[in-house]
């Protein structure tokens, strides 16, 4: 089946495009079991719109990052359930499609400040984590190709940093949770681990606090006041002549003019 799009206009990329041109190969898809013919080059999301849906649920950023459009599908004769984000997955002939725009999942409530970044913290907030049977369905259900089962096992083993890192690309669409026989809310466990890591394990960004302190003491204020009051011509001149940190400069590059920075 040719997937080379030629004539069909991308309706989301332009306002009001008029009707479909109809010169492109069409494929049948089944939306919740009902058959529609759609152009072969469209994503599932655009195919739904082509079929006549105006999306409210199941559509968010349209760019593969917000997790609103988790979708499961299956082909006739195949036992396999496949997954994708509707905005990123191109239709294929005879797909049986349903979106899962929402799935109720357990979310623990916590004060991140007071937590210890350990496996027991995760286990206390999400005791069901031990119900994991290691079936790997979550990993197979992840449209972001995250090894979900692995980050859950890391969390069980107390490797919070590992769980944080492995779950980093999670868009929190909830498909893992929807299919988990142990009724876990993997993606909520993932963000807990990431926040534990970010708050308590990753080394603190001390230089930031130092600058905040300097700002609060008003150390840069004189320079700013000067700029704010400056005549336009002079401001432009200073802007034009400002020193630019070279692209390939080392981290601790030093500018020549140190008047408006603070070197210790």
């Amino acid at each position: 089946m040719s997937k080379i799009p030629v004539e069909v206009k991308d309706k989301s990329s332009k306002k009001k495009t008029g009707g479909p041109a109809g010169t492109e190969a069409m494929v049948p898809i089944f939306v919740m079991g009902k058959r529609y013919e759609v152009p072969a080059s469209l994503t599932i999301q655009k195919a739904l719109e082509y079929a006549g849906y105006q999306l409210v649920r199941g559509c968010g950023c349209r760019g593969g990052i917000c997790g609103a459009c988790g979708t499961v599908y299956r082909f006739p004769g195949s036992y396999r359930i496949e997954v994708g984000l509707a905005c990123q997955t191109v239709v294929e002939p005879d797909m049986y499609i349903t979106q899962i725009p929402f799935f109720p999942a357990n979310k623990a409530v916590y004060d991140i400040e007071k937590l210890e970044p350990t496996g027991s913290t995760v286990a206390a907030l999400y005791p069901e984590i031990f119900k994991c049977v290691g079936c790997g369905t979550c990993t197979r259900s992840c449209p972001m190709d995250i090894d979900v089962m692995e980050y859950i096992s890391r969390a069980i083993r107390g490797d919070v940093a590992g769980a944080a890192e492995l779950s980093f690309d999670c868009v929190m669409c909830g498909l893992c949770s929807a299919r988990c026989p142990a009724e876990e809310a993997q993606y909520n466990i993932g963000i807990l681990c990431r926040r534990l890591y970010g708050r308590h394990i990753a080394p603190r960004a001390k230089h930031v606090n130092k600058v905040v302190d300097l700002i609060e003491k008003g150390k840069f204020q004189k320079g700013l006041e000067k700029l704010k009051r400056m005549k336009m011509a002079e401001l432009k001149k200073i802007y034009n002549e400002r020193e630019i940190e070279p692209d390939m400069a080392e981290e601790y590059w030093e500018p020549e003019d140190k008047t408006f920075i603070i070197v210790e």
Binding site: K3, I4, P5, V6, D10, S12, S13, K15, T43, G52, Q54, L55, V56, C59, G60, C61, R62, G63, I65, C66, Q88, V90, V109, Y110, I112, M144, D145, F168, D169, R194, R195, L196, Y197, G198, R199, H200, A202, A205, H207, V208, N209, V211, I215, F220, G223, L224, L227, K228, L235, K236, Y239, E245, P246, D247, M248, E251, E254, F260, I261, I262
Partner: protein, 557 residues
């Protein structure tokens, strides 16, 4: 789909010039950046300068102002609600602070208002977190490295990027609050990219004089958004969220203060009244209006609703005559069209080249200048690369980066983009990306002061819906900063207002009646238009023709 044989042949041309370009970059030799005069000259290729793209606003506080036709047509429209039909005295919800919009600015505002002991209600169009914040990739600017940078240089860069038109008071707040926001996000547990000693990694962005772009992989906005959302969910008692319930009109009271809003439940199609002591507009931008028919990077709900509601209530508009086109939107493959390719690629050293594999612009000019150079290269100089769908683009030479920074850098620092293109059969560590400007950001918006106050008591605005801080052109990394800085500030200001200035009054939609009257007096042919738009119309027009018994109000059934 992978590159076509024709495009693969053209990629060979890029490969041919690459070794020399890598050598030059290593040696610190750059394509010359434009002078202010050259910048001014090239901007005539920018869509903002197309006079036919703009028209005059005929009513309201900024009448006479010429801005994009698409926004004007929504300003020249009637409210979705008939003021005579709404019974205002029996609100469905009462709250201290109503936050309209559940993106970065709204959520930051809610968190700060809660810290000040407020009960907060967030009303949002789609899900909590479905917002442009979630989609911002490249990073967030802040002068956190005092031995080479300071708010002074950040201020200069912001002003230069905005063509020196920015509101200095707003810029001052932006640059001074920036490091505080970084400290806040770090404390909330956002996973920013760091070196082993905890130092935040930073890169250049277009128009920056110091490397101050902090990032979390290439999903910085998503990392910030999901952290803030998680934190809000940890305070569900104090921060309630109404999803799929966009605001359609503000409610004022007889003392001229804002008293809440009328919401619309997108699922049950009923209108809901919220009475609030303070209201924060954090509705974001308007990319889904497809200004001048450009493709957009924006999320589904970015239809400029806050502009319309705020304007009807009497807040002037600022800097809306400029619209930001991100220089690098994907134009290939077709499924990815309009998708944002983060500026971080150029920050990391990728050149931009034409069909001959030649550089024609320094890759880190401010966005409007960079975008204009792409448009000139394709349209006037005819050196663009044709796509199979009949469009043009230029090459973003991502494979250079691994040559410069070591094998594996692109895979590690751009995981989101790598996997996306990998799915299409394109390896961005080996093949360049085809890009063209895409509608990205609403530079201007509702007028605010440095506390996020609008001219209307009890009404505050922050983030993309507001205008002034970015002047005529926003620099990369200053939008995530804008939403967090001004989101936080409006939260605090609104809480202070509730505590010390709030007075109850009789709710009214008189301003809507007046606005409708003004439309008639100005002779505007409303032609059945209603606004705000709420959602763009992407369903198949042929299907709509066959919906014989369906009635639409605007784009919605």
């Amino acid at each position: 789909m992978p590159y076509t044989p024709e495009l693969k042949k053209l990629i060979k041309v890029v490969e041919k010039t690459r070794p020399k370009r890598v050598e030059q970059k290593r040696g610190g030799e750059e394509f010359p950046a434009m002078s202010l005069k050259e910048r001014e000259d090239i901007l005539k290729y920018h869509p903002d300068f197309k006079e036919a793209g703009r028209s005059e606003i005929k009513v309201g506080p900024s009448r006479g102002y010429r801005i994009s036709n698409e926004i004007v047509s929504l300003l020249h429209a009637k409210s979705r609600v008939d003021p005579d039909q709404v019974e205002l005295t029996r609100p469905d919800y009462e709250t201290d602070v109503l936050v309209i919009g559940g993106g970065g600015a709204g959520t930051a505002a809610a968190l700060m208002a809660r810290e000040k002991k407020m009960k907060v209600l967030i009303a949002t169009k789609l899900r909590h977190g479905d917002a442009n914040t979630m989609m911002a990739e490249g990073g967030i600017q802040a002068a956190t490295k005092s031995e080479k940078d300071s708010p002074y240089y950040h201020y200069l860069d912001v002003m230069g990027g905005g063509h020196f038109k920015n509101d200095p008071e707003l810029v001052e707040i932006l640059v001074n609050e920036a490091p505080k926001v970084m400290a806040w996000l770090d404390k909330l547990g956002s996973m920013f990219s760091k070196t082993e000693d905890g130092r935040l990694k930073t890169l250049h962005g277009g128009g920056t004089s110091r490397k101050r772009m902090h990032y979390a992989g290439d999903i910085t906005g998503a990392e910030i958004m999901r952290t803030l959302r998680d934190e809000a969910r940890n305070h569900a008692q104090d921060i309630k969220v109404l999803e799929f319930s966009p605001a359609v009109e503000l409610i004022l009271n007889d003392k001229g203060a804002c008293a809440g809003a009328v919401l619309y439940n997108l699922e049950t199609e009923e209108y809901i009244l919220v009475k609030a002591k303070a209201t924060i507009l954090a509705t974001g931008g308007s990319g889904r209006l497809h200004i001048q028919e450009f493709m957009t990077t924006n999320h589904y709900g970015a239809t400029g609703d806050g502009l319309i509601m705020g304007y009807r209530a009497g807040i002037p508009l600022k800097f809306l005559h400029t619209v930001q086109y991100h220089p690098t939107g994907a134009v290939f493959p077709e499924q990815a069209e309009g998708l944002l390719i983060t500026e971080k690629f150029r920050g990391a050293g990728a050149n931009v080249v034409n069909i001959d594999g030649e550089q024609f612009v320094y890759e880190r000019e401010p966005r409007d200048v960079e975008a204009s150079a792409f448009i000139r290269e394709c349209i006037e100089r005819k050196k663009g690369i044709p796509t199979p769908t009949g469009k043009f683009g230029v090459w973003l030479d991502s494979p250079m980066i691994d040559h410069l920074k070591g094998e594996g850098y692109v895979r590690r620092e751009f995981p989101g983009k790598w996997i996306l293109f990998h799915r299409y059969g394109i390896d961005i560590t080996r093949e360049p990306m085809l890009v063209y400007p895409t509608l990205h950001y609403q530079n201007g918006g509702l007028a605010i002061n440095n506390k996020g106050e609008t001219g209307i008591p009890g009404l505050f605005a922050g983030g993309e819906v507001s205008g002034g801080v970015h002047g005529e052109n926003r620099l990369m990394g200053n939008s995530l900063l804008d939403v967090t800085v001004f989101g936080r500030i409006t939260g605090v200001t609104a809480a202070d207002y509730v505590k010390s200035k709030y007075k109850d009054g009789k709710p009214t939609l008189e301003h809507v009646r007046k606005y409708h009257q003004e439309l008639i007096e100005a002779g505007v042919n409303v032609n059945g238009r209603v606004s705000p738009m709420i959602l763009p119309d992407y369903s198949n027009p042929d299907v709509r023709k066959r919906q014989l018994t369906t009635q639409y109000v605007g784009t919605l059934r």
